[in-house]
């Protein structure tokens, strides 16, 4: 166990056409190899399924690559493994939610992210979707993060983005801890 404690977290990235069974098969193999799972984010993007997963105590990146070869082949996944300095229990708490919607156009993410970073915003979680139809798409984005220079700065950035024809709102997030 103490040996495991010293082993670094690997971050696995897996991408493949979305189909049932990817998560179950992947995690069963890792569990069988005695791996410890940390934080993970898994979601459907387009028609693909993307997995980002912290894994420890399953051996070197090469070992894990070999371990997952069967599931990789079965689901035709792209698999990437990085050894990192990642650690658990280092969460940061978002204090602002920024939501954006507008007609889909090039540069929307870059414009919003650029304006926010200038205002001292640190992105912790970003989720964006394209809704509407093929002929008139709608872009929707939800970003949670930290307003490191205060909410006023963010609100200024938001109002100048609104003048550029986007619908952007910043909502403070207050956490009840009790």
């Amino acid at each position: 166990m103490s040996e495991n404690m010293q082993e670094k977290w690997l971050i696995l990235t897996l991408v493949g056409a979305d189909q049932p069974g990817i998560v179950a098969n992947l995690t069963r193999i890792l569990f069988g190899a005695g791996a410890e799972l940390g934080e993970a984010a898994m979601l459907r993007l387009g028609n693909q399924f993307a997995i980002m997963l912290m894994v420890r105590a399953a051996g070197s990146p090469e070992t894990v690559m070999g371990l997952l070869e069967s599931v990789r082949a079965q689901f035709d996944l792209k698999l990437h493994i990085d050894e990192t300095d990642a650690a658990l229990h280092e969460k940061r708490e978002p204090d602002v939610l920024v939501t954006v919607h507008g007609a889909d156009r090039a540069g929307i993410v870059a414009d919003v992210a650029g304006a926010l970073v200038e205002a001292g915003f640190n992105i912790l979680d970003l989720r964006s979707d394209v809704g509407g139809s093929t002929t008139s798409p709608i872009y929707i984005m939800q970003i949670e993060g930290e307003a490191r220079q205060g909410l006023d700065k963010i609100e200024q950035a938001v109002s100048s983005l609104n003048q550029q024809g986007l619908s952007v709102r910043a909502v403070p997030l207050d956490t009840v801890r009790g």
Binding site: P94, P172, D174, V176, R177, G178
Partner: protein
């Protein structure tokens, strides 16, 4: 006076329905002082409930004056035998818990509540609360019924704009 040890998940005592207080004596008020001390020592805490320190009685503290940003509030409150008697509206908000370190999640709560309780001397209290303070009260009363915010999590992508003014 000293801060008490805080029980953490998955301690079974956090899942227990607590008993009503019927003795409003000096011992009760001494316990409350310890509970207050524990709440002010908890990082970012705006409330605490007795079962979180292993005392299975219906006692809690609701203190919206400790919110990071100022919110409407009734001051630091000690609530004995609190009971929510009316609920109105709903809002998604973020919660954490002294008994669940290093995790916050989204929970739906009533936006406005009416609450009755007793003070440390047994006197009746009545409050109408909304927003942040109402959320704290609902979180703490849940503790007295053995319920954690983990039992009420909604999608992490639930829209916080559902909250009303």
């Amino acid at each position: 006076m000293a801060a008490l040890d805080i029980l953490t998940y998955p301690d079974e005592r956090l899942k227990t329905t607590c008993d009503a207080v019927d003795q409003f004596d000096a011992a009760l008020r001494e316990f409350i002082e310890h509970l207050q001390e524990t709440c002010s020592g908890g990082p970012g805490a705006v409330g605490i409930a007795a079962p979180q320190v292993g005392d299975l009685r219906r006692i809690c503290i609701v203190d919206a004056t400790r919110a990071k940003r100022p919110v409407d509030n009734h001051g630091p409150l000690v609530l004995i035998n609190p009971e929510i008697t009316a609920w109105d509206g709903f809002a998604v908000g973020r919660e954490g818990c002294l008994s669940v370190p290093d995790y916050t999640g989204k929970v739906i709560r009533a936006e406005r509540i009416e609450l009755k309780a007793q003070d440390p001397f047994g006197k009746s209290l009545r409050f109408t609360m909304h927003g942040f303070e109402a959320r704290i009260a609902q979180h703490e009363v849940d503790h007295l019924d053995g319920i954690l915010f983990l039992d009420r999590l909604v999608s992490r992508h639930a829209d916080l704009q559902l909250r009303k003014k």
